[in-house]
């Protein structure tokens, strides 16, 4: 399962990443991402759209279990593992390594 991204747009990678996370969230909200995930496995989970999907499913699950409170807790609960790894290990790695060149 591969992803193609257009290199021809005017946008910076940051714009495209924001766009894809939002896109993943919207598609997930419409209920179309789960089938994609079932079919593609990591091919759907690894791209950033999968991050958007994780945010939305986290919120919906938490809404189910805790009601309105879940709206505020669910998104970060489902993504907390990845975010913590990103920040903590990202920090240590940028301390340990020096940029090349």
């Amino acid at each position: 399962m591969a992803q193609i991204t257009l290199n021809l747009t005017e946008l910076t990678p940051a714009h495209i990443m924001v766009l894809f996370v939002s896109l993943g969230a919207v598609v997930s909200g419409l209920g179309f991402y789960q089938p994609l995930l079932d079919f593609g496995g990591a091919g759907a989970a690894v791209p950033l759209t999968g991050f958007g999907h994780a945010l939305v499913t986290g919120i919906l699950d938490a809404l189910n279990q805790q009601g309105l409170l879940g709206l505020f807790t669910g998104g970060l609960t489902s993504t907390s593992f990845g975010i913590t790894v990103a920040v903590v290990f990202g920090y240590f790695i940028s301390i340990l390594f020096d940029p090349r060149g």
Partner: protein
């Protein structure tokens, strides 16, 4: 003196006009195969976690963490930026590229200090991704809540 927004835009246009045309098809192909290879590796990791007894939904959580860690580590070795130059968004869009977007500027600005350098620049790209990801998913949650579809 800081260049104004208009000047930056002008410079961008100028640079674009003078830049050689990008070999679109070759770029797409590179992005496709590198992105695909990263996802295929992710699938391998996913299968390992499933073998440990996680369901697919549960396994995507440590999967994301593992991929983020590897992306950060490879950025530290300087490999991921090279891959990014080769594959463009094919390397940037997987979650490993998200880790790269955190570590790369953090390393770059290390000489400006641990707080103003590393701490601040870590979220140069990740910050916007969090802001929009959280906001959009929150709005979706609100909409689904009012439609009773959750």
């Amino acid at each position: 003196m800081q260049a104004g927004y208009d000047e930056i835009q002008q410079y961008r246009k100028m640079r674009q006009k003078n830049a050689p045309p990008t070999p679109l098809f070759a770029n797409l192909l590179k992005a496709f195969f590198v992105g695909g290879a990263i996802c295929a590796f992710g699938q391998l990791v996913l299968n390992i976690y499933r073998g440990m007894g996680f369901t697919v939904a549960e396994a995507t959580v440590p999967l994301a963490g593992t991929m983020v860690f590897l992306g950060a580590l490879f950025t530290g070795f300087g490999w991921y930026d090279e891959l990014g130059e080769f594959a463009g968004m094919g390397a940037a869009l997987p979650i490993t590229g998200f880790a790269n977007a955190i570590v790369s500027p953090a390393m770059e600005f290390k000489r400006e200090g641990l707080v103003q350098g590393v701490g601040k620049h870590m979220f140069e790209v990740a910050g916007p991704v969090f802001v929009y990801g959280l906001t959009v998913s929150f709005v979706i949650g609100v909409v689904r809540y009012f439609f009773g579809a959750y």
